[in-house]
């Protein structure tokens, strides 16, 4: 299947005053997202996952690399065409209170994308807004109220309605449930799953919470210091993680069932400064199984054999493995 979104060798460097090279937030990232699928991007704060999400929608200009979306090269679009294309690709932000204009009523917030893209007559727009608000599980009474009058979960429902009203093809959700209560998180996740099915959506789902990603994603990419260190189908990642970093992350997911509890791998220290990344493999200073080679040579991305041949490729960047080895 042709991917809906295809990212090749994407690099984003932020200039830092007084520092020559600047900070490399995203470093040579390549990935594909098939239509109807959900790609989960996980990593610690500072791993570059939000930057990657914004680059995918060209909310940030990439330093180099290509983004193809829906058969066209996003990186080559001019400002006007890009703006028009945005109806097909929307974003959901982490904090709905910050990302919804506090001076606009819910009716205007949800209807705004329709006005921006000139979709339908006034009557049709009004009908669509009413339809959408009910679809995300709020009542029509909510339309004349303002964002501050709602709870966090309700506000995120408003954000979702706003992102989906133009019936986009791709939604990039940047930590959409991280600011919410655990009990509300699952409601919002289920709503997103329902809408994905009903509206035929493709998601890029960014989160630091692996439990959440496990619930929603088909494919998972693990980021560390601007690079994707491991990528595979969700089942593969969670049952058969390869990269020591992924293993450490997965061991940190809380388990209710005692018999299922794994040995906890605790990583020392913090994510290093992207201004002065460690030599060789960026993860080696914190890696429990680091070898001498790790501090010298940057590991290449390897494709491993998966047991299930139909599954997506399992790629990992680590010196522990060799190309084509059994995963």
């Amino acid at each position: 299947m042709t991917p809906l979104l295809s990212v090749r060798d994407l690099v984003k460097t932020f200039d830092v005053k007084g520092k020559g090279d600047g900070v490399r937030a995203v470093s040579h990232v390549s990935l594909d997202v098939a239509p109807g699928q959900t790609l989960g991007i996980v990593g610690e704060s500072g791993s570059g996952k939000s930057t990657l999400g914004r680059l995918m929608l060209r909310l940030l200009e990439p330093t180099s690399g290509n983004i193809a979306f829906d058969g066209i090269s996003l990186t080559d679009l001019n400002v006007k065409d890009l703006r028009r294309k945005r109806r097909d690709m929307q974003m959901i932000f982490q904090d709905p209170l910050a990302s919804l204009d506090p001076r606009m009523s819910v009716r205007n917030l949800i209807g705004e994308p329709l006005i921006i893209h000139g979709l339908g007559t006034k009557q049709e727009q009004s009908d669509k807004v009413k339809d959408m608000i009910e679809r995300v599980g709020l009542s029509k009474d909510a339309l004349d109220r303002f964002p501050h009058e709602f709870s966090g979960g309700q506000r995120q429902r408003i954000s979702i309605a706003r992102a989906m009203i133009t019936l986009p093809k791709l939604i990039v959700a940047d930590e959409p449930v991280s600011s919410l209560d655990v009990s509300i998180q699952s409601q919002i996740l289920n709503l997103m799953l329902d809408l994905r099915r009903d509206l035929n959506l493709t998601y890029v789902f960014i989160s630091h919470d692996l439990a959440v990603v496990q619930h929603i994603a088909d494919t998972v990419a693990v980021m560390y210091l601007g690079e994707i260190v491991e990528m595979a189908s969700a089942t593969e990642i969670f049952t058969n993680p390869k990269h020591p970093y992924t293993r450490a992350l997965i061991s940190a997911i809380p388990q209710v069932d005692v018999s299922q509890r794994r040995e906890r791998i605790v990583l020392g220290g913090d994510i290093p400064s992207p201004q002065q990344p460690p030599t060789g493999c960026h993860f080696h200073p914190r890696c429990p199984v680091a070898m001498p080679i790790c501090s010298q040579i940057t590991p290449a991305s390897l494709t491993l054999q998966t047991l299930d041949k139909s599954a997506d490729a399992h790629t990992v960047s680590c010196h522990l493995y060799t190309e084509g080895s059994e995963s």
Binding site: L57, L59, R83, R84, K85, R86, R87, Q90, M91, F93, D95, A98, S99, L100, D101, P102, R103, S105, E112, P113, I116, H117, F146, H148, R162
Partner: protein, 283 residues
């Protein structure tokens, strides 16, 4: 809109302010009909035997000024000048300041720096000196005085709007709106401007007082409104020598200026609160 007026009238202070503003505006419009005398006429019995102004009496309601003219009539006609200057000069200043501040804050980069350096230059230059220079180039008429004041007063507004624009455009909902595909125009006028409104309103209403006083200063220096046309500012300045013997000549026009400025201030505060959905209905 009528909805907004109704909500404003629910606020006591705002209602009070609206009444004062309407009274002053009414006085300015109907000045020839309500003033008891011609404001420029010097009365034979308008000065005491020693030649000093007369205190308020049933004949001259608020007393007379240094030339034996009726103060009440002069105050009523002065409302015309002061109101016109206060609204026109201040309106133009707010418009220029907002536009330049908004553009500079939104574009940043070289355009922003250029605009703001120019603003700094204007700020560093003594405002009064500039006003005098401008006023002496153009022959002083009411409109010229208003424009001169505007040319001096837009600077602070531009500064404040500039910093506010930067702070608001960093907020996430602006990025969110851009991610929807909104044009720059839409972001500027539908999202940034409503958030700037409180700041602009406060500056616009505060500016009325300073504008009226600046006009008074200019009149005093001979480059403002030409005498004998009365303005609240020049009544104060003309009569300041009599401050100790006839204090009402300074206090009454002073009170008029304060009432005008304060009413606009109160109205501005109420408007700001009513226009903000998170504050609506609270007083």
């Amino acid at each position: 809109m009528s909805n907004l007026v109704r909500r404003l009238l629910k606020r006591k202070l705002a209602t009070f302010a609206i009444i004062i503003i309407l009274l002053i505006t009414g006085a300015a419009i109907f000045a020839p009909w309500i003033s008891p005398y011609n404001p420029d006429e010097q009365f034979m019995n308008g000065l005491s035997l020693q030649g000093s102004p007369l205190p308020p009496s049933h004949h001259y309601l608020l007393g007379t000024d240094l030339l034996g003219r009726d103060l009440f009539s002069r105050l009523i006609f002065g409302a015309r000048t002061s109101l016109l200057i206060g609204i026109l000069a201040n309106g133009v200043a707010v418009f220029i300041g907002t536009l330049l501040g908004l553009i500079a804050g939104f574009m940043r980069g070289r355009v922003g720096s250029a605009v703001m350096r120019f603003t700094d230059l204007m700020m560093a230059f003594p405002a009064l000196l500039l006003a005098i220079a401008l006023a002496s180039i153009f022959s002083p008429s009411l409109f010229i005085v208003a424009l001169v004041i505007a040319m001096v007063n837009w600077v602070q507004i531009a500064r404040v709007v500039y910093t506010q624009t930067i702070s608001i455009s960093e907020r996430e909902f602006i990025e969110a709106t851009r991610s929807l595909g909104a044009s720059t125009q839409r972001i500027l006028f539908k999202h940034l401007l409503p958030h700037l409104l409180p700041t602009i309103l406060v500056w616009a209403t505060l500016g009325i007082a300073t504008t009226v006083l600046l006009e008074a200063t200019l009149s005093f220096l001979g480059v403002g409104v030409r005498p004998p046309t009365p303005s609240w500012g020049n009544i104060i300045f003309e009569n300041q020598a009599y401050f100790s013997t006839a204090p009402w000549l300074v206090f009454l026009p002073g009170i008029a200026i304060i009432a005008l400025a304060l009413s606009f201030n109160l109205l501005g505060d109420a408007l700001r609160d009513e226009l903000d959905p998170t504050q609506r209905g609270r007083s």
